[in-house]
Every structure is written in structure tokens, then in C-alpha cells.
């Protein structure tokens, strides 16, 4: 698997899009750091961008990469290796190259600005960890969708729909549910519901770390109240890992039964 991963990674990190993605985060972070006052404000602004943009880009790249390497994958399938080796290698190469773009783009400006001497360093680390998790989760979901759909348009459409659902629609439905059932105790429902959305979960995780109750929203506050900060973070991180494993398991399942 490492062999496939290595070459996928080489291929992807040299692509124009990887440079653009890194450059965007770099410029964005630099301008935020220079324009706004404290680091914690920058972390919050960046959080909002990362939570929406990282899943979107990972989704698009995942689908695009799978469809683009379709013919090459056939050559790999004719080699003496297992199918899962090929697809996990490609997926990990993709998720890793996206993560490195993010780490370089966001990380470099902070390091230059002197993050390591600042008390914000762990908040910043949490932001990066969440960004990496989201890259792994959404590229796995996109890979899974692309594997299941031979039709490119359908695959793209579905993947974008999934992103839209988690990034936008889910919150709307959640709020709607909260207001419709406001007469009932909703704490457990809220905790449960946020576990089903990796983007929400990431937001809660960062805000727990930042410990800013004003921004936490209902779920964040409930999780903090019921689970406490430390346990809340541990639970969120575990559930995020499950969010990586589930689609990866799906990739394995589809890959083993698919006709190429």
C-alpha cells in the first residue's frame, strides 16, 4: 500500500491544484494575521473557513482524482496486488497531500508569526488536527461515492450534495428540530445529532478547546455541561475517527465487489 501511496502522493503534490490550494491558505492566513489583532481571533476566523472549505475541496479532489485515474487504476488492477491495497494507497495519498497543503498553507504563516512562543499554540494545533480530520473524512466519502458511481456527473453531483448537506442543510434541519420541539428536553438529542455531522463535531471540538462559551452554540454548551471539556473533546475525537473509518470501510467493500 505504501508504494501506491508514495506515487499518488508525488503525483498529487505536483499538481497545479495542490499549489493553488496551499497558496490560498497561505495568503489568507497571512492577511488575517497581519490585519487582525490577536491570534485567538485569527484562529476563530480561520476555523470558520476551514470548516466549510476543507470538506468542499476534499470532496471535489476526491471525486476528480478517482475519475481522472480511472484508466491508470485498470493497469494497477492487472498487477499482482490486492484491490484494497490499490484503493487505500490512492485514498491515503490524496488525503495526505490535502493535509500537507493545509498544514503548510496555514502552519507556515503562524510559525513565522511566532506561534510557538504564544499561549495560543494548542488552540492552533487543534485547528490543524480538525483540518486534517476533515480532509481524511471528506476525501474518503468522495472516493466512496466515485467508486460507486461510474457516471461522472452523478458522482460529482452526489458528492457535492453530501458536502452541502453536512455544511449547510444539516444545521438548518437541526435548528428547525430544536425550535419545533423546544418544549421537550433536547440535550441528549443535541449531543447525538452533532455526532452525526463531522463538520458540527469539528466546530464543537475547536470551541471546547478555545473555551469560548459565547460562540459555542447549543450543542457545544450541552456537551461541555454534560461531558465536561476533557471528556467532551475525547468523545468528539473518537467519533471523528469513526467518521474516517466508516467511509474507508465502505471503499474496501465496494472495491472488492466492483467490476472494472
Amino acid at each position: 500500500m505504501f508504494k501506491i501511496l508514495k506515487y499518488s502522493f508525488f503525483d498529487l503534490t505536483r499538481s497545479r491544484w495542490a499549489y493553488i490550494y496551499t497558496a490560498f491558505f497561505f495568503l489568507f492566513t497571512v492577511s488575517l494575521l497581519w490585519l487582525s489583532g490577536g491570534m485567538s481571533k485569527v484562529v476563530i476566523s480561520l476555523m470558520n473557513v476551514i470548516l466549510v472549505l476543507v470538506p468542499l475541496i476534499a470532496t471535489m479532489f476526491g471525486v476528480m482524482y478517482y475519475y481522472n485515474s480511472r484508466e491508470f487504476t485498470e493497469l494497477l488492477l492487472a498487477q499482482p496486488i490486492r484491490r484494497t491495497t490499490i484503493f487505500f494507497g490512492q485514498y491515503l495519498g490524496l488525503a495526505l497531500s490535502l493535509s500537507i497543503s493545509l498544514l503548510l498553507g496555514v502552519g507556515l504563516p503562524f510559525v513565522l508569526y511566532g506561534i510557538f512562543g504564544s499561549p495560543e499554540v494548542w488552540n492552533f494545533m487543534m485547528l490543524l488536527i480538525v483540518g486534517v480530520f476533515l480532509s481524511f473524512i471528506f476525501s474518503a466519502i468522495a472516493f466512496f461515492i466515485a467508486l460507486r458511481n461510474e457516471n461522472h456527473i452523478k458522482g460529482f453531483g452526489l458528492a457535492i450534495l453530501v458536502w452541502l448537506f453536512f455544511a449547510v442543510i444539516y444545521d438548518g434541519l437541526f435548528l428547525l428540530a430544536l425550535s419545533l420541539f423546544s418544549d421537550y428536553p433536547l440535550e441528549q438529542f443535541a449531543i447525538g445529532a452533532s455526532m452525526f455531522n463531522p463538520i458540527d463535531l469539528s466546530r464543537v471540538l475547536i470551541l471546547l478547546k478555545l473555551d469560548i462559551s459565547a460562540l459555542m452554540g447549543f450543542t457545544g454548551a450541552v456537551i461541555q455541561k454534560f461531558l465536561g471539556t476533557a471528556l467532551g473533546m475525547a468523545v468528539s475525537l473518537t467519533v471523528l475517527s469513526v467518521w474516517v473509518i466508516l467511509p474507508a470501510w465502505g471503499i474496501r467493500r465496494v472495491a472488492n465487489h466492483k467490476d472494472f
Partner: protein
């Protein structure tokens, strides 16, 4: 070397292979022919384990291939479409395949020379022309000395010089006692190279035998005409109309 028994494969409602049984047990060049959609590529992909048949079995050197992958060490494959990762260099692609197979290629240097690829080794694959990519494809397919070679449309996009060299290479491999399965639409290539033909039509084997026996059976002096006769159903086979349509497609491609 390869035995196929009662192979069935459909995609959705479309039955592509309907009970194919045959054996390739002697070395030589076998041309797999048939109109578009007749199941040539599906047959090849089933042998390689890419398409998973719902019925029947395929044995490679006496072992059922179902669920196995190590037998592919003994097969070299040339895919129909030569598309590789755009940002890898030619050298890296060849290194990748060596890495995956975990063995040193026997003929790499000679093949690079044969297809004049030396000036392209450090170029990105995305920047190569279609013909040059096909040469890279040929190099990766021929660089090992496996007993079986499966080539899907090997002549695609080759210039006349490269085509001559490919033919010489194929003869050489055959003389080494290898089994070569080739799909193609170029009838002159078949007439020149193939020892035996397998003609697929609507998921069945419609004809299998030597060129001469085909010409004799259809009383034609030339392969193209003999095949047109099969497809037009003039000799009593496949008169359901579908054959005629297929014949039109095949002839148009000429």
C-alpha cells in the same frame, strides 16, 4: 495455460458474456475479434480478475483465479487507453511498476531504445503525445518476461516505425514460447500476426480456428471479407439483424 468454463457476465440487464468455454493451452498469438460490445474487453478483464463473472470459472495454470491475485505475476497487460498520472515522469512510472511487482525488469533498456523513449524519460506523462504515451504503455507491458501477455488494442496511435517494431517484438515473444492474447480492429494486423482467431459475437464464441480455416469456411480469400460475411449473416449465422448492425460498425471503422 488458461482454461475458461461456461463464463457468464452481465452488466445490469445487459448480458455481455453468455457461456464462454475455451482453453488457451498452446503458446502462440491469439487474436480476439468481434464488433464493439461483443465482450472482448470483458473477457480479457475477467481473465485479469478485473471483471467478476457471476457464473463459470477461469483457471490459470491449473488454479482457479477467483479471489486470487498472485497469478497476475505471470501476466503482462497492456491496457487499451494509455493514460497515466499526469504529474509523474516516465522514469517514475516505470519505477512504480517495478516497485509494485518487486522484481527487476529484464528488457527495460532495450525497449526504451527500441521505441526511442530515452529523451522522454524525465518528462511528465501529462505532457506526452498520445503516440508517445502508447509507447510508454508498450514498454511497461513488455518489460517483464511473463509467460502470458494480454494486449488490448496494441496498435493504437503508433507511427509506422513503432508499429513495425511492435510486430517484431510480438514475433520474438511468441518464439520464446509465450501465450499472447490480442484484441484489435485492424484486420491486416491480424492477418499478419495471428496464429489463431477467436471471434466473439453477442457474448458467444462464434468462430475459433486458424485464419485459413476461417477463409475456407466462408469461402473468401481475405479476412476482412470473411468477417463481414459472418456479421452479415450471409452464411446462415446470426440473422437477427443485430449482426448486420455490428457489421456496419466494423466496416465503418476501416
Amino acid at each position: 495455460m488458461i482454461t475458461i468454463e461456461n463464463l457468464h457476465k452481465s452488466f445490469g440487464r445487459q448480458e455481455v458474456l453468455r457461456g464462454i468455454s475455451m482453453a488457451f493451452d498452446r503458446p502462440g498469438i491469439y487474436a480476439i475479434l468481434g464488433p464493439n460490445g461483443s465482450g472482448k474487453t470483458t473477457l480479457i478483464k475477467s481473465i485479469l480478475g478485473m471483471a467478476l463473472p457471476e457464473k463459470g470459472r477461469i483457471e490459470f495454470q491449473g488454479q482457479n483465479i477467483r479471489g486470487r491475485w498472485d497469478y497476475r505475476r505471470k501476466i503482462d497487460y497492456l491496457p487499451q487507453i494509455a493514460r497515466f498520472p499526469d504529474n509523474l515522469r516516465v522514469r517514475e512510472l516505470l519505477a512504480m511498476i517495478q516497485d509494485i511487482r518487486g522484481e527487476k525488469p529484464q528488457a527495460l533498456g532495450r525497449l526504451i531504445e527500441l521505441f526511442s523513449l530515452a529523451p522522454f524519460l524525465d518528462k511528465s506523462l501529462g505532457k506526452l503525445s498520445g503516440g508517445t504515451r502508447q509507447k510508454v504503455n508498450l514498454v511497461q507491458a513488455f518489460m517483464y518476461d511473463s509467460p502470458v501477455l494480454i494486449l488490448d488494442e496494441p496498435t493504437n496511435g503508433l507511427d509506422p516505425v513503432a508499429l513495425l517494431r511492435l510486430k517484431a517484438l510480438l514475433r520474438e515473444e511468441k518464439d520464446k514460447g509465450k501465450l499472447l492474447l490480442i484484441t484489435t480492429h485492424i484486420m491486416s494486423f491480424v492477418e499478419e500476426m495471428a496464429d489463431e482467431l477467436v471471434f466473439l459475437l453477442e457474448g458467444h464464441i462464434h468462430f475459433r480456428g486458424t485464419l485459413d480455416s476461417l477463409k475456407e469456411q466462408y469461402k473468401e480469400t481475405n479476412l476482412e471479407r470473411a468477417i463481414a460475411r459472418i456479421l452479415e449473416g450471409e452464411v446462415g449465422f446470426s440473422t437477427n439483424g443485430h449482426g448486420k448492425e455490428a457489421a456496419r460498425i466494423v466496416l465503418q471503422r476501416k
